[in-house]
């Protein structure tokens, strides 16, 4: 069956594509604000409080400032790559939203390999970061981007161990189906073993806790957050791969960092914290208003994701930074072997 290009289909796709963007931008603005405010609380400071009520418009003002700034391209820079890099990075983090299950109704593209898609597309970010480092013609940038490449590639392995472990339990790569398996109450969440596994859940729960921590740590490393923020380690590499960037291009890097933070939090949520499911029933089901359920689901998903983002912020402002070799050691000597053992254990339990 061949279909002619249909305007309505196109508009629908466009709508689906724009929804995440309409979420990312306000989220990033608020996340930057939250980051500043939370860090201020941690550090006995006041934080932004001048622009708008309790400083709410601070980041908006910052973005406006960045837009007006001169767009500097360094003399020795490779112009095309230099311009392309922030776009590639942003595409990588933006595209990951396509598979995030916000509700049972809306999901950008409900592909069956949603999980693998997310991992693959966030690997795309590495390319952008290497572009940025290479094109900047700056030694700090190159070192930052090389660090970043090594780090991201290494930390994808423990992530994938967690993913195949979950696959061994649920036989599911589809993020919506994964969320559907964690329905009705908190005890069906991934972290407590999924729904319908009976006695095996008792055997699985300790391992699932470990796996969740592995996934959280490795996603933290993938989005370059402290204690794994070596690519942009400000006290060593000035600003790492985005040292030479200014104005809107820098804003794009910034935006994609915060977009990424939520995307990986969404991944952890979808795997272990029930995805968009409520920890207890839905008000919509109780009242018999079926349209209320998806809205509640969105709220639950956002709440869980934002809570994890807050944990990331909290960690950033309390921990020092690792060194490159230590970072690699954490990955190759601890996370990967532990992840592998967990995977073997889970396959044995599931075989029983």
């Amino acid at each position: 069956m061949t279909t002619i290009f249909n305007v309505w289909d196109f508009l629908l796709i466009l709508l689906y594509a724009i929804i995440p963007l309409a979420y990312i931008i306000p989220f990033a603005l608020m996340a930057v604000y939250a980051e500043r405010k939370i860090s201020a609380w941690i550090q006995n400071r006041v934080g932004p409080n001048r622009t708008g009520p309790i400083g709410l418009f601070q980041t908006t003002a910052d973005i406006l400032k960045l837009m007006q700034k001169e767009d500097i391209v360094a003399n020795g820079a490779d112009k095309k790559l230099f311009l392309l890099a922030p776009i590639v990075v942003f595409i990588g983090s933006y595209a990951a939203y396509a598979a995030l299950p916000f509700t049972s109704v809306y999901i950008g593209t409900n592909i069956n390999l949603g999980v693998l898609y997310m991992v693959a597309i966030s690997g795309f970010v590495v390319a952008g970061i290497i572009f940025a480092g290479w094109a900047s013609d700056n030694k700090y940038s190159i070192m930052g981007s090389l660090r970043s490449a090594a780090q991201l590639v290494s930390y994808e392995i423990p992530t994938l161990f967690v993913i195949i472990s979950i696959f061994a339990i649920t036989q599911q790569f589809n993020l919506r189906e994964l969320s559907e398996m964690q329905t009705s109450n908190i005890l069906n969440w991934g972290i407590f073993g999924f729904d319908g596994l009976g006695y095996k859940r008792i055997l699985l729960i300790p391992v699932l806790f470990v796996l969740m921590i592995i996934l959280f740590i490795s996603t933290l490393a993938e989005v370059n957050r402290t204690p794994f923020d070596l690519p942009e380690a400000e006290s060593e590499l000035v600003a790492g791969f985005h040292t030479e960037y200014s104005g809107m291009k820098f804003a794009l890097f910034f935006l994609s960092e915060y977009a990424n933070m939520f995307a990986v939090s969404g991944l952890v949520t979808a795997f272990f914290l029930g995805g968009y499911q409520s920890p207890f029933g839905y008000l919509g089901n109780l009242l018999g208003l079926s349209w209320l359920v998806p809205i509640e689901q969105v709220l639950w998903f956002l709440t869980k994701g934002i809570l994890l983002v807050c944990v990331q912020i909290w960690m950033r402002w309390s921990l020092p930074r690792l060194r490159m070799d230590q970072l690699m050691r954490v990955c190759w000597k601890y996370l990967i072997p532990i992840g592998f053992v967990c995977f073997i254990y889970i396959t044995i339990v599931m075989y029983l």
Partner: protein, 377 residues
């Protein structure tokens, strides 16, 4: 196979200029690093970006006029700098100092030592990526600066220690507020320890890094906490007591290699933490014993020493600060030479940096606690 690849592949060392504009070279220091990947083969500090001809200027200024310039040497420990300079001039003049002045000098000097160590600890944390301890130490340092503010009106560059006395007597509330500060501050050191000193990642980053062996430390003339971090019990306040330091009961903490090797970055860091406690002990004793009296009575109308030379050294937060003054009998010195601890301590850096990684450079620099105002003068 792999051999042929590495043979045909052209690899080169990279020269990386760290600074003079860099977030963690503690001012305008430029370190020229020769890198093999991230590994340092050679490190060479280039200094002089903050050179202001201090020593030459001194030759055209009268002794009291020099004191404000002395403030700007190690601008984080101005009180201690002044202390050393006025001691040297008083040695030339051979004048007796009222006892109250000596106590005031010790009290301000020890408060300044705490303030300087707080900056050192905070910025060291910042260098290894921990942002929050920096703000915590600065919060407490602010309290010390407030004490100085009520004493002499200035928060950073005081011109407070004068030849023969101090510019003002202490504020009536000063001793009470200092006592309150000591009570407030003791638990905060524990807080810092919990947040940074015993943090697993922090220890990983600093233990076994930048080890200064005992013989290297002595050969390079390293002094202060950086020397004591290597386990040598050397403190001018004890070994060559000046002013009234022999009246107080305090210990000299030395590095013990608790986290790793003796003399590593963590040891140097932790010596400073322990020294804060010792300074608090000196402060408590000084506050309890301080006599009443006039603080300006011994200030000479005209500072015009006879021909001669004098050398005075004091234990600064950064190390051993010495002033060598040659007088030809005028109101201006003929020559002033400063033995700046940061300058000497930095000289050990090229010796200990090679073999480490780029991230360790900032850790080593942070643990040496250099101040460029003093290095370049």
């Amino acid at each position: 196979m792999s051999n042929t690849i590495t043979k045909n592949l052209k690899t080169d060392e990279m020269i990386l200029n760290m600074g003079p504009q860099h977030p963690s070279t503690h001012g305008v220091l430029r370190v020229e690093l020769k890198l093999d990947g991230e590994k340092i083969i050679e490190a060479e500090p280039h200094i002089g970006y903050l050179h202001r001809c201090f020593e030459k200027h001194c030759e055209a200024l009268t002794y009291p006029q020099i004191i404000p310039y002395v403030d700007r040497l190690d601008y984080l420990a101005s009180m201690n700098n002044e202390f050393g300079f006025v001691l040297a001039v008083e040695k030339l003049l051979k004048i007796e100092i009222p006892e109250r002045v000596e106590y005031i000098r010790v009290i301000t000097g020890e408060l300044q030592r705490i303030a300087s160590h707080l900056v050192a600890l905070g910025t060291f944390g910042l260098d290894v990526g921990a942002f929050t301890p920096f703000l915590f130490t600065f919060r407490d340092r602010e309290k010390i600066l407030n004490l100085f503010e009520i004493t002499c009106g200035a928060r950073l560059l005081y011109n407070y220690h004068w030849v023969g006395g101090v510019s003002h007597d202490l504020h009536p509330d000063f001793l009470r507020l200092t006592k309150e500060f000591i009570d407030y501050f003791r638990p905060k050191v524990e807080e810092l320890n919990g947040l940074l000193s015993y943090n697993k990642i922090f220890i990983e980053r600093t233990a076994n890094i930048g080890v200064i062996p005992v013989d290297v430390a002595i050969n390079y003339g390293v002094s202060g906490p950086s020397l004591r971090g290597s386990g040598i019990k050397w403190d001018i306040r004890k070994n060559d007591p000046y002013s009234i330091y022999n009246k107080f009961d305090f210990d000299i903490p030395v590095g013990q290699g608790l986290a790793g090797t003796l003399g590593d970055c963590w040891d140097r860091y932790f010596v400073r933490v322990l020294e804060i406690e010792q300074s608090l002990r000196i402060l408590e004793q000084a506050i309890a014993q301080i006599p009443e009296g006039d603080v300006t009575s011994a200030i000479p109308k005209r500072v015009k020493p006879n021909e001669g030379i004098s050398y005075a050294r004091v234990e600064n937060p950064k190390g051993e600060l010495g002033f060598f003054i040659v007088s030809k009998g005028g109101v201006q010195p003929m020559r002033v030479k400063v033995r700046a601890p940061s300058f000497v301590n930095l000289s050990v850096f090229p010796e200990i940096a090679p073999g480490h990684m780029v991230s360790d450079v900032v850790a080593i620099l942070g643990s040496l606690d250099i101040v460029l105002g003093e290095i370049d003068r």
